[in-house]
């Protein structure tokens, strides 16, 4: 009985210390941000019914000057490096946009990029700084903005992007990552998935394997040129995300992506506008890279726990046997 009391005292002080230095201390050091579930409450819903066929023409006329759409056979007008040097960042290929980003986010983005991306502090027209993506608006015969028509056009464009985008079940974690994060963030770790080694990711695409040193150096040169343009655009080089799943964790990454201003007021990182499903996929990709052995950890953990519990039972039985004569 006395031993149980001692155990209770030891356990109490251990747990108290743990509580104070872990949950309590972290609650004092880091602001807690609740996720809104990627609802983007400040962005109005799409009110018009979109027509994908009309949207195709609108996209061809308004978007493909800067954006490629590989899926529709439209390559990007410029290579990533030239693009970044012209715009600051390479405009994304729109093939997967319709399933990675929330539809109302895309519609809002087309109409007002700086506001939707939450980078108005960086692109203030009053200070002569405009977002590289120009806002879309439809005009009536008198040259005034036709709000109804603008809403209809953006709904049509979104409908088109959704019609060409892969379905949720076809969108892989790596596709979600590349579309949502990959133009600014590199992942310099290769990773194993489904028995295959996947290459590292640079801001200009997967790092190929090279036969000749010259080709490798030429590629690295391009990456560096791209990063220089990106640094100028963002103010600093966005971090490599290889170990972010361990250094930041799922909750932080999700709430950060949902609204970067939550944690870093005035950051140059835009709100990306991913859907909740895509955010899960991005997390899964970061786990595939930075915590690739998590499934093995669970399996091995189970077996070790079973083994060690059996060990403890035998140890208790042995003690009882040895001590029978001692009492």
């Amino acid at each position: 009985m006395k031993e149980l009391l001692i155990l209770a005292v030891v356990t109490f002080f251990t747990l108290l210390t743990y509580y104070l230095v872990e949950p309590f201390a972290h609650s004092q050091m880091h602001k807690h941000v609740e996720s809104e579930g990627f609802a983007y409450k400040d962005i109005p819903a799409i009110t018009k019914k979109g027509d994908a066929t009309r949207g195709a023409d609108l996209v061809a006329a308004n978007c493909t000057g800067c954006h490629g759409i590989q899926k529709a056979g439209m390559p990007a007008p410029m290579d990533p490096v030239t693009s970044a040097q012209s715009f600051g960042v390479n405009p994304p290929d729109l093939s997967n946009a319709g399933s990675v980003f929330a539809p109302k986010f895309i519609a809002s983005l087309i109409k007002n990029p700086a506001k939707t991306l939450m980078v108005e502090h960086k692109f203030d027209p009053a200070k002569g700084k405009v977002h590289p993506m120009s806002a879309y608006a439809a005009y009536d015969a008198n040259g005034n903005v036709d709000k109804e028509q603008t809403d209809q056009d953006t709904a049509d464009m979104v409908a088109y992007l959704q019609s060409i985008a892969p379905k949720q079940e076809e969108l892989t974690p790596v596709m979600a990552f590349e579309t949502a994060c990959g133009r600014c963030h590199a992942i310099h770790y290769e990773y194993m998935k489904d028995g295959k080694l996947h290459p590292a990711w640079t801001q200009i695409g997967e790092k190929p394997s090279f036969k000749k040193k010259q080709d490798e150096l030429a590629f690295e040169q391009k990456v560096l040129d791209y990063q220089d343009a990106l640094k100028k655009y963002m103010g600093t080089l966005p971090p490599d995300l290889s170990m972010y799943i361990r250094s930041r964790g799922e909750h932080y990454i999700k709430t950060f992506v949902e609204n970067p201003q939550n944690y870093l007021k005035g950051t140059a990182m835009p709100r990306v506008g991913v859907t909740a499903e895509s955010a899960d996929k991005v997390i899964e990709h970061l786990e595939d890279v930075g915590d690739s052995k998590r499934h093995e950890r669970e399996t091995v953990g189970r077996y070790v726990m079973i083994y060690i519990i059996i060990f403890a039972i035998f140890a208790i039985l042995w003690k009882k046997e040895v001590w029978r004569d001692l009492h």
């Binding site: 006395k2 031993e3 001692i6 155990l7 030891v10 002080f13 251990t14 108290l16 210390t17 743990y18 104070l20 230095v21 872990e22 309590f24 201390a25 004092q28 050091m29 770790y189 990773y191 194993m192 290889s242 170990m243 361990r246 250094s247 930041r248 964790g249 930075g290 690739s292 052995k293 093995e296 950890r297 669970e298 091995v300 953990g301 070790v304 726990m305 060690i308 519990i309 060990f311 403890a312 039972i313 035998f314 140890a315 208790i316 042995w318 003690k319 046997e321 040895v322 001590w323 004569d325 001692l326 009492h327």
Partner: protein, 404 residues
């Protein structure tokens, strides 16, 4: 030269050459331990097992770790964690054991303080134990440098800065320790050497000393009873096992040790597989960057109480208080003036002193981690002053303690 006869068995052959029967008797079957002990007396065995886990996992990690500022981070987080088969397992065992070993060390220390196991001939047990504490602290700190993450770098920066001695401005000493103006390649190399060779050697030697120091005064018991070990051992050997106050180290004591070890390992492996973040700080999964100071720099939990004794004061006073905290535990056997080697519960004011010290150190630990602002600084300051005060009054209250 000794006389050797033709061996009748392998046992006999070995016995003639190594005296294994005598060794077994001296180290195990007739190494007498008091019967009147509780599970807190198994902490030594848990520490030995945890040290074994650290040693074995460390050897596996050493096969892939690269002590180079450009490679270290990725050799740990990519090569070991993702590429090498079960590398993640060894790293998690190593990281969690490094943290848990300090929890057990603190329990072991407070057990010793509570039961008065540092006096009346047991002073060297305490002192060798404190030397082990210092060696383990150095081992933990040097190991923390090796992944070369943000916390490695900045903890290395802050802790080595302490050696400048505040107003003494011994910057030359700091540079000498670092081998550079800031932590860099030379720094990483020397801490690697310390972590994998010099300090482990010192720990092994100190463990030998610690075990040896137990031999003559024997292990204490939970009532502080003075036992005539020879007489009780005779009683045991004569067959009165139940009546004897002593038991064999093996298998009697060992069986109880292993029971406690078994239960401990359930907790340990639960932490390794399901709850490892407390021992592997997320901040250290960002690679070291000398141009980007983390928002909060704090040591691992087991150093927080002494860190908090440093923090609330001005630089020079803080350093003196910090130095005081580092050495004062060594002096415990001499600051405790009472002849009573019995549990604190029977020692009047010392009982209050014991619980006050424990709670004060937990408060210091908590305040050492949170940002030093507002109320936290005030609490930290008072807790640090209380710590110093407790050690100053110790000789006085124990001097007037009644003999039990």
């Amino acid at each position: 030269m000794a006389h050797f006869t033709k061996a009748t068995s392998l046992h006999d052959w070995l016995n003639q050459r190594l005296a294994i029967d005598t060794l077994r008797r001296v180290l195990a079957t007739e190494y007498w331990i008091p019967k009147n002990i509780n599970f807190l007396w198994a902490m030594g065995m848990i520490l030995a097992i945890t040290f074994g886990l650290l040693l074995v996992s460390g050897i596996f990690l050493l096969m892939y770790y690269q002590p180079n500022v450009n490679l270290a981070f990725d050799s740990v987080n990519y090569t070991i964690m993702q590429e090498v088969g079960y590398g993640w397992l060894w790293r998690h065992i190593h990281g969690v054991a490094a943290s848990v070993v300090f929890l057990i060390i603190y329990i072991h220390m407070f057990t010793g303080i509570y039961y008065g196991s540092y006096k009346n001939g047991r002073e060297m047990i305490w002192i060798s134990g404190m030397l082990l504490f210092v060696a383990f602290s150095a081992e933990a700190f040097s190991g923390y440098m090796l992944p070369w993450g943000q916390m490695s770098y900045w903890a290395g920066m802050v802790i080595t800065n302490l050696f400048s001695g505040g107003s003494l401005h011994a910057d030359g000493l700091v540079e000498w320790i670092r081998g550079d103006y800031v932590p860099g390649q030379a720094f990483l190399n020397r801490f690697f050497m310390l972590h994998v060779l010099l300090i482990p050697l010192a720990i092994l030697a100190l463990i030998g000393l610690h075990f040896g120091s137990l031999r003559i005064p024997h292990v204490n018991n939970q009532d502080g009873e003075e036992i005539d070990f020879d007489a009780e051992a005779k009683k045991y050997l004569a067959g009165d096992k139940a009546g004897s106050k002593v038991i064999r180290f093996a298998n009697d004591f060992l069986a109880k040790d292993m029971m406690v070890v078994g239960i401990f390992l359930i907790l340990f492996f639960y932490l390794v597989f399901y709850h490892y973040d407390f021992a592997m700080d997320p901040v250290n999964f960002d690679p070291a960057n000398g141009l980007k100071t983390p928002a909060h720099i704090y040591p691992e939990w087991y150093f927080l109480w002494s860190y908090e004794i440093l923090r609330p004061f001005s630089t020079d006073v803080g350093l003196i208080a910090f130095a005081f905290a580092q050495v004062i535990f060594f002096l415990l056997p001499f600051l405790d003036r009472s002849p009573n080697a019995v549990p604190a519960s029977r020692r009047g004011l010392f009982k209050v002193w014991f619980w006050a010290l424990l709670i004060d150190m937990i408060i210091l630990t908590a305040m050492g981690k949170v940002p030093p602002e507002g109320m936290f600084s005030t609490i930290g300051l008072y807790a640090a002053l209380t710590f110093i005060g407790l050690w100053i009054v110790l000789p006085i209250i124990t001097k007037f303690e009644r003999k039990v």
